[in-house]
Structures are given as structure tokens and as C-alpha cells.
């Protein structure tokens, strides 16, 4: 199992995901600079968190046009699993791999804290090591994680079981109080039609080790490894 992590100018969670993947996959992923037009043959592509191009203009907008993204889109369409975390999620929506947009947090403030997430279906390669509806604790750290889309798209996401994670309370109840950024239907992460592209605002790589306060993120990477 070998993976690639795309590095953009301004990415800053690239090393974090590299460490988390290495722990689960047993081998360090390749770090691929955004300027590359080609990419090694890999079984997993991760678009990491951070502030690509400073989040200037619109978060993810400029990175979505990097040369390497054309290749990422091609591989995604060939069925290669692609995981976008935080800024990576924003980039995947801007690149058209996932529907909807991530707008400014409803509270207009950056939010960094652990949140409870309710897993949706657990059929995808990303969620298969979780139980369906399991409640997990994962940190968020973003300014623009307020997911929004049109009613038709939302209906499809819901109908096709493509809402991978929702913000919830510790008991798993999806409430407004548990929604940290105003996201539509408390959406924290979504899948594409084929289920091989996942975008999520929370950072599973940040709680994948007991020393850092939790391991709920680890199951995602173990699931990808197996």
C-alpha cells in the first residue's frame, strides 16, 4: 500500500498526515510538490490541511488550479481513493471532485477544538473500520468549514448515504449546539458518487496517537491500509 501527499505552497498539515499514514501503512507516503504534472503510481492520494496560497481569494481556489491537480482528478476518476482534509476538502470542492462549498464559519471566528462526529454509512474505504453511526472524537481547526450546497445536491448526498461524518453531541444527537460552523445538516465530511473521494473538515491525523489525547482518527488510516 503506497500513498502520496500533495504539498502546496502554504500546506501545513502535510507532515502531520505523513506521520499518521506512516504509522498505519507501515511505509512513509511520497510527498508530491504541487508543481509536478505527474505522480507516482499510488493506491491513495491525500490532499492535506493548511493554508494553501494563504487562503487568499477563496480557500482552496488557487491550489485547485495547480498542475498536479489535473492528475489528481484523473486518478480520482479512475477510482483511486482521494482524501481531502480541511483545506484539502476545500481544494477538492474547488476542483469539482466534490459538490458544494465551504463558506466562512457562521461565528466568523477560527475554531480549533475537539468535536464529536457521527459516522454515516461505513461502506467506504475511509470509514470501513468504524461502525455505522459510531460517535468519534476528532479535532477541527478552520475558519471556513461552513458546508453549503443546493437542496437537490443535499437530497442526493443524503439519499445516496454520502454524508460520511456529521457534527453531533457526545450521545450522537445531531443538534445545532453541536454544529461548530453552521454547516448545512451538520455536515463535516462527504463522499463522491463512487465513494472513492472523501472530503472532511476535521483532522483525523491529529488524534491518531494516545500521547496526543486520543486515537479515534487512527481507524481511518488502518482501514485504508487493510
Amino acid at each position: 500500500m503506497n500513498a502520496a501527499v500533495i504539498v502546496f505552497p502554504g500546506s501545513n498539515c502535510d507532515r502531520d498526515i505523513q506521520v499518521a499514514l506512516a504509522a498505519s501503512l507501515g511505509s512513509a507516503p511520497e510527498m508530491v510538490w504541487h508543481g509536478e504534472a505527474s505522480m507516482p503510481d499510488v493506491d491513495l492520494i491525500v490532499v492535506p490541511g493548511g493554508f494553501s496560497y494563504g487562503d487568499y481569494l477563496r480557500s482552496g481556489a488557487m491550489a485547485a488550479h495547480s498542475p498536479v491537480m489535473r492528475e489528481v482528478v484523473r486518478r480520482a476518476n479512475d477510482g483511486v481513493p482521494v482524501l481531502g482534509i480541511c483545506n484539502g476538502f476545500q481544494i477538492l470542492t474547488e476542483a469539482g471532485l466534490l459538490p458544494g462549498v465551504l463558506m466562512r464559519n457562521a461565528g466568523l471566528r477560527f475554531v480549533c477544538r475537539d468535536v464529536d462526529l457521527r459516522v454515516g454509512e461505513n461502506k467506504s474505504v475511509f470509514t470501513r473500520h468504524y461502525d455505522a453511526r459510531q460517535v468519534i472524537r476528532i479535532p477541527i481547526a478552520h475558519n471556513e468549514g461552513n458546508y453549503s450546497t443546493d437542496p437537490e445536491t443535499l437530497a442526493r448526498l443524503e439519499g445516496e448515504g454520502r454524508v460520511a461524518f456529521r457534527y453531533c453531541d457526545p450521545s450522537g444527537a445531531v443538534t445545532d449546539d453541536a454544529n461548530p460552523n453552521g454547516s448545512l445538516a451538520n455536515i463535516a465530511g462527504i463522499l463522491n458518487e463512487n465513494g472513492n473521494v472523501l472530503g472532511m473538515m476535521p483532522h483525523p491525523e491529529r488524534l491518531a496517537e494516545a500521547a496526543l489525547g486520543g486515537t479515534d482518527g487512527r481507524a481511518m488510516f488502518d482501514g485504508l491500509a487493510s
Binding site: L57, G100, R104, N105, A106, L108
Partner: protein, 80 residues
């Protein structure tokens, strides 16, 4: 030649910043505010001298990068 571009959220797309500004203005005691929308205003200096060509270029820039046409409308004004 200058392209002056207004990028605004499509009608129906909710605007958290606009909402927050409206709320904050209320908090400051400003009354009679029926709505606030926040957009972007981008000015681009172009070497191009032909207004038609300049507009075409600006339009392409909006389509490719400046606007997210899923949720945003844009308006381009060219002034010599």
C-alpha cells in the same frame, strides 16, 4: 486599462458574513437595516488596450479563478 470586477453571492445562497455584519450593526444601534450582502471587489490593471479584448480576458479570469460560479455572480466594468 482597468477591469473592475464585482463578485457577489447568487441570490438564495446564504451569506454568513452579511448576516454577521447585519447583526453587529444592529448591536451598534443602527436601525432600519433590511439586509446586508458582502461581496468582493477586484481591480485588475491590464496592458490590453482594446476594451472588448480586455473584457474577454477579465471574463476568462472570473470563469477560471476569480469567481466560484457555483455560488457567485460577477460583473465586469472596463474603464480606459
Amino acid at each position: 486599462m482597468k477591469a473592475r470586477i464585482h463578485i457577489t453571492l447568487k441570490n438564495g445562497v446564504l451569506d454568513p458574513q452579511g448576516k454577521a455584519i447585519e447583526h453587529a450593526l444592529g448591536g451598534l444601534g443602527f436601525a432600519g437595516i433590511d439586509g446586508v450582502r458582502q461581496g468582493k471587489f477586484i481591480e485588475i490593471d491590464l496592458a490590453e488596450t482594446d476594451p472588448g479584448k480586455a473584457r474577454e480576458a477579465a471574463d476568462a479570469m472570473c470563469q477560471r479563478l476569480l469567481a466560484n460560479v457555483v455560488i457567485e455572480d460577477y460583473r465586469i466594468d472596463i474603464d480606459e
